[in-house]
Protein backbone atom coordinates (compact mmCIF):
# COMPACT_ATOMS: atom_id res chain seq x y z
CA UNK A 1 0.00 0.00 0.00
CA UNK A 2 1.32 3.41 -0.89
CA UNK A 3 1.29 5.95 1.88
CA UNK A 4 0.81 9.02 -0.28
CA UNK A 5 -1.79 9.72 -2.90
CA UNK A 6 -0.49 10.16 -6.44
CA UNK A 7 -1.25 13.85 -6.51
CA UNK A 8 -1.88 15.50 -9.83
CA UNK A 9 -0.18 18.76 -8.86
CA UNK A 10 2.04 18.15 -5.85
CA UNK A 11 3.95 21.40 -6.07
CA UNK A 12 0.89 23.58 -5.71
CA UNK A 13 -0.35 21.84 -2.62
CA UNK A 14 0.69 23.69 0.53
CA UNK A 15 -0.39 20.90 2.91
CA UNK A 16 0.96 17.35 2.85
CA UNK A 17 -1.09 15.20 0.54
CA UNK A 18 -3.33 12.88 2.49
CA UNK A 19 -2.88 9.13 2.21
CA UNK A 20 -5.48 7.45 0.05
CA UNK A 21 -7.02 5.25 2.74
CA UNK A 22 -6.90 7.70 5.60
CA UNK A 23 -9.99 9.92 5.28
CA UNK A 24 -13.00 7.67 5.64
CA UNK A 25 -15.25 10.13 3.88
CA UNK A 26 -14.56 12.53 1.10
CA UNK A 27 -14.40 16.08 2.30
CA UNK A 28 -14.44 18.24 -0.76
CA UNK A 29 -16.75 21.09 -1.61
CA UNK A 30 -18.27 23.51 0.83
CA UNK A 31 -18.27 22.54 4.51
CA UNK A 32 -21.89 23.76 4.66
CA UNK A 33 -23.16 21.15 2.18
CA UNK A 34 -23.60 18.29 4.69
CA UNK A 35 -25.78 20.49 6.85
CA UNK A 36 -27.93 21.39 3.86
CA UNK A 37 -28.45 17.68 3.26
CA UNK A 38 -29.30 16.77 6.82
CA UNK A 39 -30.89 20.05 7.93
CA UNK A 40 -34.46 19.55 6.66
CA UNK A 41 -34.65 16.15 8.31
CA UNK A 42 -33.17 17.44 11.55
CA UNK A 43 -35.71 20.26 11.82
CA UNK A 44 -38.68 17.90 11.59
CA UNK A 45 -36.87 15.31 13.69
CA UNK A 46 -36.35 17.87 16.46
CA UNK A 47 -39.96 19.04 16.41
CA UNK A 48 -41.75 15.71 15.97
CA UNK A 49 -39.41 13.15 17.55
CA UNK A 50 -37.14 14.79 20.12
CA UNK A 51 -39.50 17.49 21.41
CA UNK A 52 -42.37 15.02 22.00
CA UNK A 53 -40.23 13.00 24.41
CA UNK A 54 -39.59 16.12 26.49
CA UNK A 55 -43.18 17.34 26.10
CA UNK A 56 -44.50 14.03 27.42
CA UNK A 57 -42.23 14.03 30.46
CA UNK A 58 -43.39 17.58 31.16
CA UNK A 59 -47.12 17.18 30.45
CA UNK A 60 -47.33 14.04 32.57
CA UNK A 61 -46.53 16.17 35.63
CA UNK A 62 -49.40 18.66 35.10
CA UNK A 63 -53.03 18.72 35.86
CA UNK A 64 -54.12 19.79 32.42
CA UNK A 65 -57.43 19.64 30.61
CA UNK A 66 -56.79 21.07 27.14
CA UNK A 67 -58.76 24.25 26.56
CA UNK A 68 -59.74 24.82 30.17
CA UNK A 69 -56.72 25.74 32.23
CA UNK A 70 -53.11 25.71 31.19
CA UNK A 71 -52.42 23.35 34.06
CA UNK A 72 -50.39 23.54 37.20
CA UNK A 73 -47.43 21.43 38.13
CA UNK A 74 -48.54 18.51 40.28
CA UNK A 75 -45.33 16.49 40.35
CA UNK A 76 -45.96 12.78 40.44
CA UNK A 77 -49.60 13.09 41.36
CA UNK A 78 -50.92 11.77 38.02
CA UNK A 79 -48.69 8.74 38.36
CA UNK A 80 -49.73 8.27 41.99
CA UNK A 81 -53.41 8.39 41.03
CA UNK A 82 -52.89 5.85 38.27
CA UNK A 83 -50.71 3.52 40.32
CA UNK A 84 -53.10 3.64 43.29
CA UNK A 85 -55.73 1.71 41.34
CA UNK A 86 -58.42 3.96 42.85
CA UNK A 87 -60.91 5.99 40.82
CA UNK A 88 -62.45 5.56 37.37
CA UNK A 89 -59.41 6.71 35.37
CA UNK A 90 -57.06 4.38 37.14
CA UNK A 91 -59.41 1.40 37.01
CA UNK A 92 -60.20 1.89 33.33
CA UNK A 93 -56.53 2.39 32.49
CA UNK A 94 -55.47 -0.84 34.17
CA UNK A 95 -58.37 -2.64 32.56
CA UNK A 96 -56.99 -1.45 29.22
CA UNK A 97 -53.48 -2.50 30.23
CA UNK A 98 -54.81 -5.97 31.07
CA UNK A 99 -56.54 -6.17 27.69
CA UNK A 100 -53.30 -5.18 25.96
CA UNK A 101 -51.34 -7.68 28.03
CA UNK A 102 -53.79 -10.53 27.37
CA UNK A 103 -53.86 -9.76 23.64
CA UNK A 104 -50.05 -9.58 23.51
CA UNK A 105 -49.56 -12.82 25.43
CA UNK A 106 -52.11 -14.65 23.26
CA UNK A 107 -51.06 -13.24 19.91
CA UNK A 108 -47.25 -13.03 20.02
CA UNK A 109 -46.55 -16.80 20.26
CA UNK A 110 -48.84 -17.39 17.28
CA UNK A 111 -47.48 -14.43 15.32
CA UNK A 112 -43.94 -15.73 15.82
CA UNK A 113 -44.51 -19.43 15.11
CA UNK A 114 -47.26 -19.56 12.47
CA UNK A 115 -45.37 -17.29 10.04
CA UNK A 116 -42.25 -19.37 10.67
CA UNK A 117 -44.08 -22.53 9.63
CA UNK A 118 -45.47 -20.67 6.62
CA UNK A 119 -41.98 -19.49 5.66
CA UNK A 120 -40.64 -23.06 5.88
CA UNK A 121 -43.48 -24.15 3.61
CA UNK A 122 -42.79 -21.38 1.11
CA UNK A 123 -39.08 -22.21 1.18
CA UNK A 124 -39.77 -25.65 -0.31
CA UNK A 125 -39.33 -26.14 -4.01
CA UNK A 126 -42.58 -26.17 -5.96
CA UNK A 127 -44.17 -24.45 -8.93
CA UNK A 128 -45.91 -21.13 -8.39
CA UNK A 129 -44.09 -20.29 -5.18
CA UNK A 130 -44.17 -16.54 -5.81
CA UNK A 131 -47.88 -16.67 -6.54
CA UNK A 132 -48.72 -18.46 -3.29
CA UNK A 133 -46.47 -16.08 -1.39
CA UNK A 134 -48.34 -13.16 -2.92
CA UNK A 135 -51.74 -14.60 -1.95
CA UNK A 136 -50.72 -15.27 1.66
CA UNK A 137 -49.28 -11.78 1.98
CA UNK A 138 -52.27 -10.02 0.39
CA UNK A 139 -54.32 -9.29 3.57
CA UNK A 140 -51.43 -7.29 4.99
CA UNK A 141 -51.61 -4.56 2.32
CA UNK A 142 -55.24 -3.86 3.20
CA UNK A 143 -54.75 -2.11 6.48
CA UNK A 144 -56.60 -2.55 9.71
CA UNK A 145 -59.70 -0.54 8.79
CA UNK A 146 -60.71 -2.73 5.85
CA UNK A 147 -59.74 -5.88 7.73
CA UNK A 148 -61.71 -4.78 10.79
CA UNK A 149 -64.88 -3.86 8.90
CA UNK A 150 -64.68 -7.05 6.86
CA UNK A 151 -64.29 -9.39 9.84
CA UNK A 152 -66.88 -7.54 11.89
CA UNK A 153 -69.26 -8.72 9.17
CA UNK A 154 -67.83 -12.23 8.67
CA UNK A 155 -67.95 -12.88 12.43
CA UNK A 156 -71.41 -11.40 13.05
CA UNK A 157 -73.19 -13.82 15.36
CA UNK A 158 -76.53 -13.89 13.51
CA UNK A 159 -75.84 -13.08 9.88
CA UNK A 160 -72.10 -13.63 9.44
CA UNK A 161 -70.90 -16.40 7.13
CA UNK A 162 -68.49 -17.83 9.74
CA UNK A 163 -71.38 -18.99 11.92
CA UNK A 164 -73.35 -20.07 8.85
CA UNK A 165 -70.45 -22.24 7.73
CA UNK A 166 -69.94 -23.67 11.23
CA UNK A 167 -73.62 -24.53 11.35
CA UNK A 168 -73.45 -26.19 7.94
CA UNK A 169 -70.84 -28.67 9.20
CA UNK A 170 -72.74 -29.32 12.42
CA UNK A 171 -70.79 -27.15 14.86
CA UNK A 172 -72.31 -24.56 17.23
CA UNK A 173 -73.52 -21.74 15.01
CA UNK A 174 -74.50 -19.03 17.50
CA UNK A 175 -71.18 -18.01 19.03
CA UNK A 176 -71.10 -14.25 19.66
CA UNK A 177 -67.65 -13.78 18.15
CA UNK A 178 -67.69 -9.98 18.36
CA UNK A 179 -69.73 -9.30 21.50
CA UNK A 180 -68.68 -11.81 24.14
CA UNK A 181 -65.60 -13.16 25.84
CA UNK A 182 -63.65 -15.38 25.50
CA UNK A 183 -64.88 -15.73 21.89
CA UNK A 184 -63.84 -12.11 21.34
CA UNK A 185 -60.22 -13.00 22.07
CA UNK A 186 -60.35 -15.76 19.45
CA UNK A 187 -61.67 -13.20 16.96
CA UNK A 188 -59.10 -10.50 17.78
CA UNK A 189 -56.14 -12.88 17.81
CA UNK A 190 -57.34 -14.95 14.87
CA UNK A 191 -57.96 -11.97 12.63
CA UNK A 192 -54.60 -10.44 13.59
CA UNK A 193 -52.84 -13.67 12.63
CA UNK A 194 -54.79 -13.82 9.35
CA UNK A 195 -53.96 -10.18 8.61
CA UNK A 196 -50.22 -10.09 9.47
CA UNK A 197 -48.97 -13.65 9.05
CA UNK A 198 -47.58 -12.78 5.61
CA UNK A 199 -45.54 -9.90 6.97
CA UNK A 200 -43.49 -11.93 9.44
CA UNK A 201 -43.36 -14.87 7.03
CA UNK A 202 -41.72 -12.74 4.35
CA UNK A 203 -39.07 -11.54 6.83
CA UNK A 204 -38.36 -15.14 7.85
CA UNK A 205 -38.28 -16.25 4.23
CA UNK A 206 -35.54 -13.76 3.38
CA UNK A 207 -33.50 -15.03 6.35
CA UNK A 208 -34.06 -18.69 5.45
CA UNK A 209 -32.39 -18.03 2.14
CA UNK A 210 -29.20 -17.12 4.00
CA UNK A 211 -28.93 -20.42 5.88
CA UNK A 212 -26.01 -22.17 4.17
CA UNK A 213 -27.16 -25.10 2.05
CA UNK A 214 -23.90 -26.98 2.74
CA UNK A 215 -24.79 -27.24 6.43
CA UNK A 216 -28.12 -28.82 5.59
CA UNK A 217 -26.39 -31.19 3.22
CA UNK A 218 -23.78 -32.12 5.84
CA UNK A 219 -26.45 -32.73 8.47
CA UNK A 220 -28.40 -34.83 6.00
CA UNK A 221 -25.35 -36.97 5.29
CA UNK A 222 -24.89 -37.37 9.04
CA UNK A 223 -28.36 -38.85 9.08
CA UNK A 224 -30.26 -35.94 10.61
CA UNK A 225 -33.95 -35.93 9.73
CA UNK A 226 -35.89 -32.83 8.71
CA UNK A 227 -37.02 -32.12 12.28
CA UNK A 228 -33.50 -32.41 13.67
CA UNK A 229 -32.08 -30.23 10.92
CA UNK A 230 -34.70 -27.59 11.71
CA UNK A 231 -33.54 -27.39 15.34
CA UNK A 232 -29.82 -27.94 14.80
CA UNK A 233 -29.22 -25.92 11.64
CA UNK A 234 -32.07 -23.61 10.66
CA UNK A 235 -33.18 -22.16 13.99
CA UNK A 236 -29.69 -21.38 15.36
CA UNK A 237 -28.95 -19.54 12.11
CA UNK A 238 -32.14 -17.53 12.42
CA UNK A 239 -31.57 -16.38 15.99
CA UNK A 240 -31.08 -12.70 15.20
CA UNK A 241 -34.07 -12.57 12.90
CA UNK A 242 -36.22 -14.41 15.44
CA UNK A 243 -35.19 -11.92 18.08
CA UNK A 244 -36.02 -9.02 15.74
CA UNK A 245 -39.41 -10.51 14.89
CA UNK A 246 -40.27 -11.20 18.55
CA UNK A 247 -39.48 -7.62 19.54
CA UNK A 248 -41.33 -5.92 16.66
CA UNK A 249 -44.30 -8.26 17.15
CA UNK A 250 -44.56 -7.49 20.87
CA UNK A 251 -44.48 -3.79 20.05
CA UNK A 252 -47.07 -4.17 17.30
CA UNK A 253 -49.40 -6.25 19.50
CA UNK A 254 -49.09 -3.83 22.39
CA UNK A 255 -50.13 -1.06 20.01
CA UNK A 256 -53.27 -2.90 18.94
CA UNK A 257 -56.15 -0.50 18.46
CA UNK A 258 -58.01 -0.91 15.16
CA UNK A 259 -59.03 -4.53 15.66
CA UNK A 260 -60.76 -3.84 18.97
CA UNK A 261 -62.26 -0.59 17.69
CA UNK A 262 -63.77 -2.19 14.59
CA UNK A 263 -64.18 -5.95 15.08
CA UNK A 264 -65.37 -6.17 18.68
CA UNK A 265 -66.05 -2.42 18.94
CA UNK A 266 -64.59 -2.64 22.45
CA UNK A 267 -67.44 -4.93 23.45
CA UNK A 268 -68.61 -6.41 25.71
CA UNK A 269 -68.92 -3.18 27.69
CA UNK A 270 -65.40 -1.93 27.07
CA UNK A 271 -63.84 -5.27 27.99
CA UNK A 272 -61.74 -5.32 24.80
CA UNK A 273 -60.66 -1.68 24.90
CA UNK A 274 -56.86 -1.66 24.80
CA UNK A 275 -54.50 0.59 26.74
CA UNK A 276 -53.70 2.63 23.66
CA UNK A 277 -57.42 3.01 22.97
CA UNK A 278 -58.01 4.33 26.44
CA UNK A 279 -55.00 6.67 26.27
CA UNK A 280 -56.23 8.09 22.97
CA UNK A 281 -59.72 8.47 24.38
CA UNK A 282 -58.52 10.20 27.54
CA UNK A 283 -56.12 12.58 25.83
CA UNK A 284 -57.76 13.36 22.50
CA UNK A 285 -61.47 13.07 23.29
CA UNK A 286 -61.69 14.05 26.98
CA UNK A 287 -58.63 16.33 26.56
CA UNK A 288 -57.20 15.15 29.88
CA UNK A 289 -53.63 15.68 28.73
CA UNK A 290 -51.96 15.23 32.12
CA UNK A 291 -53.47 11.83 32.81
CA UNK A 292 -53.12 10.57 29.23
CA UNK A 293 -49.45 11.58 29.30
CA UNK A 294 -48.78 9.71 32.52
CA UNK A 295 -50.57 6.66 31.08
CA UNK A 296 -48.38 6.88 27.95
CA UNK A 297 -45.26 6.95 30.08
CA UNK A 298 -46.34 3.88 32.06
CA UNK A 299 -47.17 1.93 28.90
CA UNK A 300 -43.87 3.02 27.28
CA UNK A 301 -41.86 1.89 30.30
CA UNK A 302 -43.61 -1.49 30.22
CA UNK A 303 -42.81 -1.85 26.51
CA UNK A 304 -39.15 -0.93 26.93
CA UNK A 305 -38.90 -3.41 29.82
CA UNK A 306 -40.49 -6.13 27.68
CA UNK A 307 -38.06 -5.47 24.80
CA UNK A 308 -35.06 -5.54 27.13
CA UNK A 309 -36.32 -8.76 28.70
CA UNK A 310 -36.65 -10.40 25.29
CA UNK A 311 -33.17 -9.32 24.28
CA UNK A 312 -31.80 -10.62 27.56
CA UNK A 313 -33.57 -13.96 27.12
CA UNK A 314 -32.16 -14.36 23.62
CA UNK A 315 -28.69 -13.59 24.97
CA UNK A 316 -29.08 -16.28 27.64
CA UNK A 317 -30.37 -18.83 25.14
CA UNK A 318 -27.49 -17.96 22.82
CA UNK A 319 -24.96 -18.74 25.54
CA UNK A 320 -26.32 -22.22 26.30
Amino acid sequence: MSTAAPSLSPSRSPVPVAPVDAPRRIRRGSPVTPYLFIGPFLILFAVFVLAPILVLAWSSTRQWILGFDSGGFVGGENYATLLSGQGVLSEEFWRGMRVTAVFTVLSVPLLVTVPFALALLLNLRFRGRTLFRAVYFAPYVLGVAVVGVLWHFLLDARVGPVNHLLGAIGLPDATAWTTSLPAGWVSLVGVTVWWTVGFNAVIYLAALQDVPAELHEAARIDGAGAWRRLWAVTIPHMRRVLQFVVVITIIASANMYGQSALITQEQPGGATRTAIGYIAQTGMRSYDIGMASAMSMILAVCLIAASLLVNQLFRLVGKV
Binding site: V47, V135, V159, W194, V202, A280
Partner: protein
Protein backbone atom coordinates in the same frame (compact mmCIF):
# COMPACT_ATOMS: atom_id res chain seq x y z
CA UNK B 1 -26.82 -46.40 -1.54
CA UNK B 2 -30.19 -45.10 -0.43
CA UNK B 3 -29.55 -46.29 3.08
CA UNK B 4 -26.64 -43.86 3.32
CA UNK B 5 -28.02 -41.00 1.28
CA UNK B 6 -31.80 -40.60 1.43
CA UNK B 7 -33.31 -39.98 -1.98
CA UNK B 8 -33.73 -36.31 -2.95
CA UNK B 9 -36.99 -36.94 -4.74
CA UNK B 10 -39.95 -36.62 -2.42
CA UNK B 11 -42.46 -39.44 -2.26
CA UNK B 12 -45.65 -38.84 -4.16
CA UNK B 13 -47.81 -38.78 -1.05
CA UNK B 14 -45.89 -35.87 0.39
CA UNK B 15 -46.27 -33.93 -2.86
CA UNK B 16 -50.03 -34.37 -2.67
CA UNK B 17 -50.02 -33.30 0.98
CA UNK B 18 -48.05 -30.20 0.06
CA UNK B 19 -50.54 -29.17 -2.61
CA UNK B 20 -53.54 -29.79 -0.37
CA UNK B 21 -51.92 -27.55 2.23
CA UNK B 22 -51.06 -24.83 -0.31
CA UNK B 23 -54.56 -24.76 -1.75
CA UNK B 24 -56.19 -24.91 1.70
CA UNK B 25 -54.16 -21.90 2.79
CA UNK B 26 -55.04 -20.08 -0.42
CA UNK B 27 -58.70 -20.50 0.51
CA UNK B 28 -58.07 -19.20 4.03
CA UNK B 29 -56.45 -16.02 2.73
CA UNK B 30 -58.40 -15.41 -0.47
CA UNK B 31 -61.96 -16.47 0.38
CA UNK B 32 -62.66 -13.68 2.91
CA UNK B 33 -61.51 -11.12 0.33
CA UNK B 34 -63.60 -12.68 -2.43
CA UNK B 35 -66.59 -12.81 -0.10
CA UNK B 36 -66.15 -9.10 0.64
CA UNK B 37 -66.20 -8.40 -3.10
CA UNK B 38 -69.25 -10.61 -3.69
CA UNK B 39 -71.22 -9.12 -0.80
CA UNK B 40 -70.68 -5.60 -2.13
CA UNK B 41 -72.74 -6.61 -5.19
CA UNK B 42 -75.51 -8.37 -3.28
CA UNK B 43 -78.94 -7.05 -2.31
CA UNK B 44 -79.36 -6.15 1.39
CA UNK B 45 -81.41 -9.33 1.92
CA UNK B 46 -78.93 -11.63 0.23
CA UNK B 47 -75.95 -10.09 2.00
CA UNK B 48 -77.21 -11.46 5.33
CA UNK B 49 -78.72 -14.72 4.07
CA UNK B 50 -77.33 -18.04 5.19
CA UNK B 51 -76.24 -19.18 1.69
CA UNK B 52 -72.53 -18.92 1.24
CA UNK B 53 -72.40 -17.60 -2.30
CA UNK B 54 -69.28 -16.24 -3.94
CA UNK B 55 -71.39 -15.07 -6.87
CA UNK B 56 -74.40 -12.85 -6.07
CA UNK B 57 -77.79 -14.18 -7.10
CA UNK B 58 -78.87 -10.87 -8.65
CA UNK B 59 -75.75 -8.73 -8.90
CA UNK B 60 -76.64 -5.14 -8.08
CA UNK B 61 -74.87 -1.82 -7.73
CA UNK B 62 -77.36 -0.83 -5.03
CA UNK B 63 -74.81 -0.70 -2.23
CA UNK B 64 -72.46 1.50 -4.25
CA UNK B 65 -75.36 3.78 -5.24
CA UNK B 66 -76.38 4.07 -1.61
CA UNK B 67 -72.86 5.17 -0.60
CA UNK B 68 -72.33 7.58 -3.46
CA UNK B 69 -75.76 9.16 -2.91
CA UNK B 70 -75.19 9.79 0.81
CA UNK B 71 -73.64 13.23 1.37
CA UNK B 72 -72.74 12.47 4.99
CA UNK B 73 -70.24 9.83 3.81
CA UNK B 74 -68.39 11.43 0.84
CA UNK B 75 -66.41 8.34 -0.09
CA UNK B 76 -64.98 9.72 -3.33
CA UNK B 77 -63.66 12.70 -1.44
CA UNK B 78 -62.05 10.27 1.03
CA UNK B 79 -60.34 8.47 -1.85
CA UNK B 80 -58.88 11.82 -2.89
CA UNK B 81 -57.88 12.69 0.68
CA UNK B 82 -56.18 9.34 1.15
CA UNK B 83 -54.28 9.63 -2.12
CA UNK B 84 -53.16 13.19 -1.44
CA UNK B 85 -52.07 12.42 2.10
CA UNK B 86 -50.29 9.15 1.27
CA UNK B 87 -48.44 10.60 -1.73
CA UNK B 88 -47.39 13.76 0.12
CA UNK B 89 -46.37 11.87 3.26
CA UNK B 90 -44.42 9.35 1.25
CA UNK B 91 -42.64 12.03 -0.83
CA UNK B 92 -41.70 14.07 2.23
CA UNK B 93 -40.50 11.03 4.19
CA UNK B 94 -38.37 9.72 1.36
CA UNK B 95 -36.79 13.04 0.35
CA UNK B 96 -35.84 13.89 3.92
CA UNK B 97 -34.54 10.40 4.63
CA UNK B 98 -32.50 10.16 1.41
CA UNK B 99 -30.73 13.47 1.99
CA UNK B 100 -30.07 12.80 5.68
CA UNK B 101 -28.94 9.22 5.12
CA UNK B 102 -26.54 10.30 2.38
CA UNK B 103 -24.95 12.94 4.57
CA UNK B 104 -24.58 10.50 7.46
CA UNK B 105 -23.13 7.74 5.30
CA UNK B 106 -20.92 9.68 2.95
CA UNK B 107 -19.93 13.05 4.36
CA UNK B 108 -17.61 14.18 7.12
CA UNK B 109 -18.90 16.98 9.35
CA UNK B 110 -18.96 18.09 12.92
CA UNK B 111 -21.68 16.48 14.99
CA UNK B 112 -22.17 13.53 12.65
CA UNK B 113 -21.56 10.86 15.26
CA UNK B 114 -23.72 12.62 17.82
CA UNK B 115 -26.58 12.91 15.33
CA UNK B 116 -26.27 9.24 14.43
CA UNK B 117 -26.36 8.24 18.06
CA UNK B 118 -29.40 10.36 18.84
CA UNK B 119 -31.31 9.19 15.76
CA UNK B 120 -30.50 5.56 16.54
CA UNK B 121 -31.55 5.96 20.18
CA UNK B 122 -35.00 7.19 19.18
CA UNK B 123 -35.62 3.92 17.29
CA UNK B 124 -36.07 2.32 20.71
CA UNK B 125 -38.69 4.82 21.89
CA UNK B 126 -42.16 3.23 21.75
CA UNK B 127 -44.61 4.94 19.40
CA UNK B 128 -47.10 5.60 22.21
CA UNK B 129 -44.70 8.24 23.54
CA UNK B 130 -45.39 10.38 20.45
CA UNK B 131 -49.19 10.17 20.50
CA UNK B 132 -50.27 12.81 23.03
CA UNK B 133 -47.34 15.19 22.33
CA UNK B 134 -48.10 15.05 18.59
CA UNK B 135 -51.67 15.95 19.40
CA UNK B 136 -50.51 18.92 21.50
CA UNK B 137 -48.03 20.11 18.86
CA UNK B 138 -50.51 19.71 16.00
CA UNK B 139 -53.13 21.52 18.06
CA UNK B 140 -50.85 24.46 18.86
CA UNK B 141 -49.84 24.73 15.19
CA UNK B 142 -53.54 24.93 14.30
CA UNK B 143 -53.31 21.75 12.24
CA UNK B 144 -56.15 19.74 13.76
CA UNK B 145 -58.57 18.55 11.09
CA UNK B 146 -56.07 19.39 8.31
CA UNK B 147 -53.98 17.42 5.83
CA UNK B 148 -50.80 18.72 7.45
CA UNK B 149 -51.64 16.81 10.64
CA UNK B 150 -51.51 13.57 8.64
CA UNK B 151 -48.59 14.38 6.36
CA UNK B 152 -45.92 16.00 8.52
CA UNK B 153 -45.62 14.61 12.08
CA UNK B 154 -44.61 11.09 11.08
CA UNK B 155 -42.28 12.11 8.25
CA UNK B 156 -38.99 12.35 10.17
CA UNK B 157 -38.69 8.87 11.63
CA UNK B 158 -35.37 7.20 12.33
CA UNK B 159 -36.18 4.02 10.41
CA UNK B 160 -35.91 5.47 6.90
CA UNK B 161 -32.59 7.15 7.61
CA UNK B 162 -31.06 4.00 9.08
CA UNK B 163 -32.42 1.81 6.37
CA UNK B 164 -31.02 3.99 3.56
CA UNK B 165 -27.76 4.75 5.34
CA UNK B 166 -26.72 1.09 5.11
CA UNK B 167 -27.18 1.15 1.35
CA UNK B 168 -25.28 4.39 0.81
CA UNK B 169 -22.49 3.16 3.08
CA UNK B 170 -22.14 -0.04 1.05
CA UNK B 171 -21.48 1.72 -2.26
CA UNK B 172 -17.75 1.42 -3.14
CA UNK B 173 -15.92 4.68 -2.66
CA UNK B 174 -14.05 4.32 -5.96
CA UNK B 175 -17.25 5.33 -7.73
CA UNK B 176 -17.46 8.48 -5.69
CA UNK B 177 -13.81 9.29 -6.26
CA UNK B 178 -14.10 8.73 -9.98
CA UNK B 179 -17.03 11.12 -10.07
CA UNK B 180 -15.06 13.80 -8.26
CA UNK B 181 -12.05 13.35 -10.52
CA UNK B 182 -14.42 13.79 -13.45
CA UNK B 183 -15.42 17.14 -12.00
CA UNK B 184 -18.68 16.31 -10.30
CA UNK B 185 -19.75 18.56 -7.45
CA UNK B 186 -20.98 17.03 -4.21
CA UNK B 187 -24.54 17.52 -5.36
CA UNK B 188 -24.06 15.98 -8.79
CA UNK B 189 -22.10 13.05 -7.32
CA UNK B 190 -25.09 12.44 -5.11
CA UNK B 191 -27.81 13.00 -7.68
CA UNK B 192 -26.20 11.36 -10.70
CA UNK B 193 -24.05 8.57 -9.26
CA UNK B 194 -25.08 7.61 -5.75
CA UNK B 195 -28.84 8.06 -5.80
CA UNK B 196 -29.38 5.87 -8.88
CA UNK B 197 -27.31 3.13 -7.21
CA UNK B 198 -29.53 3.23 -4.11
CA UNK B 199 -32.70 3.04 -6.20
CA UNK B 200 -33.89 -0.37 -4.90
CA UNK B 201 -33.63 0.78 -1.28
CA UNK B 202 -35.37 4.06 -2.08
CA UNK B 203 -38.16 2.16 -3.83
CA UNK B 204 -38.61 0.00 -0.75
CA UNK B 205 -38.94 3.05 1.47
CA UNK B 206 -41.43 4.59 -0.97
CA UNK B 207 -43.61 1.49 -0.80
CA UNK B 208 -43.41 1.12 2.98
CA UNK B 209 -44.15 4.75 3.76
CA UNK B 210 -46.99 4.89 1.24
CA UNK B 211 -48.64 1.81 2.71
CA UNK B 212 -48.14 3.00 6.28
CA UNK B 213 -49.80 6.31 5.52
CA UNK B 214 -52.60 4.83 3.39
CA UNK B 215 -53.53 2.33 6.11
CA UNK B 216 -53.03 4.50 9.19
CA UNK B 217 -56.11 4.31 11.37
CA UNK B 218 -55.80 5.59 14.95
CA UNK B 219 -54.28 8.99 14.19
CA UNK B 220 -56.81 10.17 11.55
CA UNK B 221 -59.67 8.96 13.76
CA UNK B 222 -58.57 11.31 16.50
CA UNK B 223 -57.28 14.38 14.62
CA UNK B 224 -59.92 14.68 11.89
CA UNK B 225 -63.35 16.00 12.87
CA UNK B 226 -65.35 16.85 9.77
CA UNK B 227 -66.66 14.14 7.49
CA UNK B 228 -65.19 15.69 4.34
CA UNK B 229 -61.65 15.57 5.77
CA UNK B 230 -61.57 11.83 6.55
CA UNK B 231 -59.24 9.37 4.89
CA UNK B 232 -60.61 6.03 3.72
CA UNK B 233 -59.68 4.10 6.90
CA UNK B 234 -61.13 6.65 9.31
CA UNK B 235 -64.10 7.20 6.98
CA UNK B 236 -64.97 3.51 7.04
CA UNK B 237 -65.67 3.99 10.72
CA UNK B 238 -68.32 6.62 9.91
CA UNK B 239 -69.77 4.35 7.26
CA UNK B 240 -69.96 1.52 9.78
CA UNK B 241 -71.69 3.78 12.31
CA UNK B 242 -74.26 4.96 9.75
CA UNK B 243 -75.01 1.58 8.22
CA UNK B 244 -74.50 -0.83 11.08
CA UNK B 245 -77.03 -3.27 9.68
CA UNK B 246 -76.29 -2.82 5.97
CA UNK B 247 -73.41 -5.20 5.42
CA UNK B 248 -73.70 -4.85 1.65
CA UNK B 249 -72.99 -1.13 2.05
CA UNK B 250 -70.08 -1.72 4.43
CA UNK B 251 -68.52 -4.24 2.09
CA UNK B 252 -68.92 -1.82 -0.83
CA UNK B 253 -67.08 0.77 1.26
CA UNK B 254 -64.37 -1.77 2.11
CA UNK B 255 -64.03 -2.62 -1.60
CA UNK B 256 -63.62 1.05 -2.52
CA UNK B 257 -61.04 1.47 0.25
CA UNK B 258 -59.04 -1.59 -0.75
CA UNK B 259 -59.28 -1.42 -4.54
CA UNK B 260 -56.45 1.12 -5.00
CA UNK B 261 -53.94 -0.77 -2.82
CA UNK B 262 -54.96 -4.14 -4.20
CA UNK B 263 -54.48 -2.82 -7.74
CA UNK B 264 -51.09 -1.46 -6.74
CA UNK B 265 -50.32 -4.81 -5.14
CA UNK B 266 -51.18 -6.77 -8.28
CA UNK B 267 -48.85 -4.56 -10.33
CA UNK B 268 -46.00 -4.26 -7.84
CA UNK B 269 -46.53 -7.40 -5.73
CA UNK B 270 -43.01 -8.71 -6.02
CA UNK B 271 -41.57 -5.37 -5.25
CA UNK B 272 -43.75 -4.70 -2.22
CA UNK B 273 -42.94 -8.11 -0.72
CA UNK B 274 -39.24 -7.70 -1.38
CA UNK B 275 -39.45 -4.28 0.23
CA UNK B 276 -40.96 -5.70 3.39
CA UNK B 277 -38.52 -8.58 3.52
CA UNK B 278 -35.47 -6.33 3.30
CA UNK B 279 -36.89 -4.03 5.97
CA UNK B 280 -36.30 -6.87 8.41
CA UNK B 281 -32.60 -7.07 7.68
CA UNK B 282 -31.01 -4.88 10.26
CA UNK B 283 -27.43 -3.89 9.60
Amino acid sequence: MTAVLPPRRRPRLRRIGLWVLLIGLTCVFALPLLYMLATAFKTPAESVSADFRLWPQDPTLGAFRQILGDDSVPVLRWVGNSLLVAVAHCALTVVLAVLAAYALARMEFRGRRLMMGVILATMFVPAVVMLIPHFLIVNSLGWLNSYAALIIPGAAGAFGVFFLRQFFAAIPRELEEAAIVDGCTQWSTFARIMLPLARPAVATLVVLSFLASWNDYLWPVFVLFSSDMQTLPSGLRLLQAENSTRYDVMMAGAVIASAPVLALYVIAQRWIIEGVSTSGIKG
